[in-house]
């Protein structure tokens, strides 16, 4: 008897669940999407607190350690296991013929890793001056988890700071495209007629232009004396100029589809105002589809920024983004000799994949009534 009671309540729960609860139920079943969501959560969390998570100042040059490889974290030495991890010092040798630097671990020097250590000064979110880092070693030790670049700067810290720019540019860019896409797609779908035709032709035109030359032309138009923050927003606007087209089409298509639905006519007949129909009936019905499309549009933005910066047309040093970091890995020699310079590429791939997995899961969950 008790069993039956339980069953009924579970069924009733399903019947009274809101759209979002039903979506969450469906989404939870998509393991890959959950995995993507967790990865992205970690990435964004680290990016937000990049100063804390990085081990040192991103502009500090270690002239003795140019193109140093990543240092490994050890738990074991000749004496056995240590609870506190440590890194060995680096020994540099210069080949007298090729002048190539090679580094090897110096087993005589051992630098234990400390957590919540005081180190280089930075400003959290450019507001709060602090010097607390998640991990680090004491002077004169060094810790280069991802190696160093040609000026001897720590790539681990640079990658984390780059994540902040690259990940946020996707969000800001999509937010801009979202506004443009909703407004223009909404006009196109709701009013139709001439406005619809003009907007659709403009979208077709914009979409027919190859993106890289268009971006090149537009970013060449950005004044070179602009401060980095202005360039950052300039680049996001350039990226959204193409980005909004897809969203506008989704909004228009969905509106055209929903306008035909009987429940919209029913709302009209009972005397609901246009505003109420849009906000209470139309928006909730396609909000989930919009979220899916936004999720799938973000990786496009991130890839766009990366390719622009990689080509030297996007953000410029001293600003760091993954694309800017990848510029150091433009030739075969670097890739062969200093493969750790490619680590930002790995981050881009993982991020894009995670967004796509997440988007996939959201798409499957978007219409819980089918």
């Amino acid at each position: 008897m008790k069993n039956r009671q339980d069953k009924i309540t579970a069924e009733e729960k399903f019947y009274i669940a809101t759209q979002w609860q039903l979506m969450w139920r469906k989404f939870k079943k998509h393991k890959l999407a959950i995995f993507g969501a967790i990865v992205l959560f970690i990435f964004y969390f680290v990016a937000i607190f990049c100063g804390f998570f990085s081990t040192q100042d991103i502009y500090k040059r270690h002239t003795k350690y140019i193109h140093a490889p990543p240092q490994r974290i050890h738990f074991f030495d000749e004496e056995g296991f240590h609870l506190r991890p440590f890194v060995y010092g680096l020994k540099r040798k210069i080949n007298p013929v090729t002048l190539r630097r090679t580094y090897s671990e110096d087993r005589t020097k051992k630098y234990p890793i400390y957590f919540f250590i005081r180190g280089d000064k930075y400003k959290l979110w450019n507001l709060f001056p602090t010097d607390l880092h998640l991990l680090g070693v004491k002077e004169p030790g060094t810790i280069f988890l991802f190696g160093t670049d040609k000026l001897g700067r720590d790539l681990f810290s640079r990658n984390l700071h780059a994540a902040r720019i690259s990940l946020s540019i996707g969000l800001v860019g999509v937010a801009l495209s979202f506004i443009l896409g909703c407004a223009l797609g909404g006009i196109s779908g709701y009013f139709g007629g001439t406005a619809d035709m003009v907007i659709q032709r403009v979208i077709e035109f914009l979409m027919s232009i190859p993106t890289i030359p268009l971006w090149m032309a537009l970013s060449a138009a950005l004044p070179p004396h602009w401060p980095p923050i202005k360039v950052y927003f300039g680049i996001t606007i350039i990226l959204s100029i193409v980005g909004w087209c897809g969203l506008a089409r989704v909004v228009r298509g969905k509106l055209l589809e929903l306008r035909q639905e009987d429940f919209v006519m029913a709302a009209k007949i009972i005397g609901a105002t246009d505003g109420r129909i849009i906000t209470r009936h139309l928006l909730p019905s396609f909000l989930s589809y919009l979220i899916v499309n936004i999720t799938l549009a973000i990786p496009g933005m991130i890839l766009g920024e990366t390719s622009l910066s990689f080509l030297g047309l996007g953000l410029q040093p001293p600003v760091v983004s993954w694309g800017v970091l990848l510029r150091d890995a433009q030739n075969v020699r670097t890739v062969v000799l200093h493969p750790w310079l490619l680590i930002p590429g790995l981050f881009v791939i993982v991020t894009v994949l995670a967004f796509n997995f997440l988007g996939d899961g959201l798409r499957d969950a978007a219409d819980p009534y089918k």
Partner: protein, 340 residues
């Protein structure tokens, strides 16, 4: 047209709805689909007018034009406001329309697309009360509970979403929503055609009970003559945007005057197994409303057609008491009626 003793609640005069056909890049209008082409009808208070016809003949369009859910191209829709004053709905502005719509509501054919799947039963049925500022909060809840009881649903299910219900239950929710504003007139647009036969009967009986209880007037649209026979006081037959015959239900079934009505009635299944079905199979297809035939629209399919039918449009005329037909030979033809 209406007689003195029966005061019409709704009168439709020469109603027209033409949909433009657009072609090419510049959306040039190359013609019109005459979905509703000069329709006259009236519905006396407390009665049910059954509107019957093939799919695509414009039944639904008439219903929606009357409510001005779509804008009619021409004609008048007169509706009785509170006292005996008749108001032309086609001339009302947005505000006046909103207030008159409290008196006229629509029940939809498709119980799936007519309910917003993202709202609870309480929100769906309560929305008319809320947007017209009639009730809110606890009072709204109580009124919705009453409505839910009236249409025979369980009051415990107010928090449920539409996907929890069967087609018949969903249709009841739709009916409750239509009743919420206490309307006088309801357009029921094929309210049972999407339902199982067993559920059809329940829903029809519910509609009849509600009619008695609230003194409702129905315009009942259907393609199913047996449903029409069951619920209607009078029947209007529609063919390609025009009404071809209008009569009281009994009169219509016993004494049809239009050849098209004869063909429709011959297809009505009869519950007697000894009777042999002798259906009249109409030749050809239903006429294209964007390019209708000359003269009487029905003449290419009519076995009684003469030359005059090709050349002249038949007049809408009374052939008996409360019996109107648009046919040149209405009084001369002897047509088959429903046997039994």
């Amino acid at each position: 047209m209406p007689k003195e003793d029966k005061k019409p609640l709704l009168e439709v005069k020469n109603l027209k709805k033409y949909f433009p056909i657009e072609k090419g890049f510049w959306k040039k209008i190359v013609g019109y689909v005459k979905a509703v082409d000069g329709v006259n009808l009236y519905v006396p208070e407390g009665e049910t007018l059954g509107l019957v016809g093939e799919s695509g003949c414009g039944k639904t369009t008439i219903g929606r034009c009357i409510l001005r859910a779509i804008e009619p191209t021409g004609g008048e829709v007169l509706f009785k406001m509170g006292d005996s004053k008749m108001v032309d709905i086609t001339r009302l502005n947005k505000e006046e329309l909103r207030s008159i719509r409290k008196d006229m509501q629509l029940i939809f054919q498709d119980p799936y697309s007519s309910l917003d799947s993202r709202m609870t039963v309480l929100d769906i049925i309560g929305e008319p009360l809320l947007v017209n500022k009639i009730a809110k909060g606890v009072e709204l809840r109580n009124r919705v509970k009453d409505l839910v009881k009236t249409v025979g649903l369980d009051v415990r299910h107010l928090r449920r979403y539409p996907h929890a219900f069967s087609g018949g239950q969903r249709q009841r929710i739709g009916i409750a929503r239509a009743l919420a504003l206490n309307p006088k007139f309801i357009v029921a647009d094929e309210p049972v055609s999407a339902l199982d036969v067993s559920v059809q009967a329940q829903t029809l009986n519910l509609l009849q009970d509600l009619q008695k209880e609230f003194n409702l007037t129905y315009l009942f649209i259907s393609h199913d003559l047996s449903v029409i026979e069951h619920i209607s006081d009078r029947v209007a037959v529609m063919y390609v945007g025009k009404i071809v015959e209008l009569a009281e239900t009994e009169e219509f079934f016993l004494n049809p005057k239009h050849p098209y009505s004869e063909a429709l009635l011959s297809a009505l299944p009869k519950p007697d197994p000894r009777l042999r079905m002798e259906r009249i199979i109409l030749p050809g297809e239903i006429a294209d409303p964007s390019n209708p035939p000359s003269g009487c629209y029905f003449h290419p399919r009519c076995k009684y057609a003469k030359d005059i039918c090709k050349n002249e449009k038949p007049k809408w005329g009374e052939v008996g008491s409360e019996h109107w037909v648009a046919c040149h030979f209405a009084s001369k033809l002897t047509l088959r009626k429903v046997s039994g």
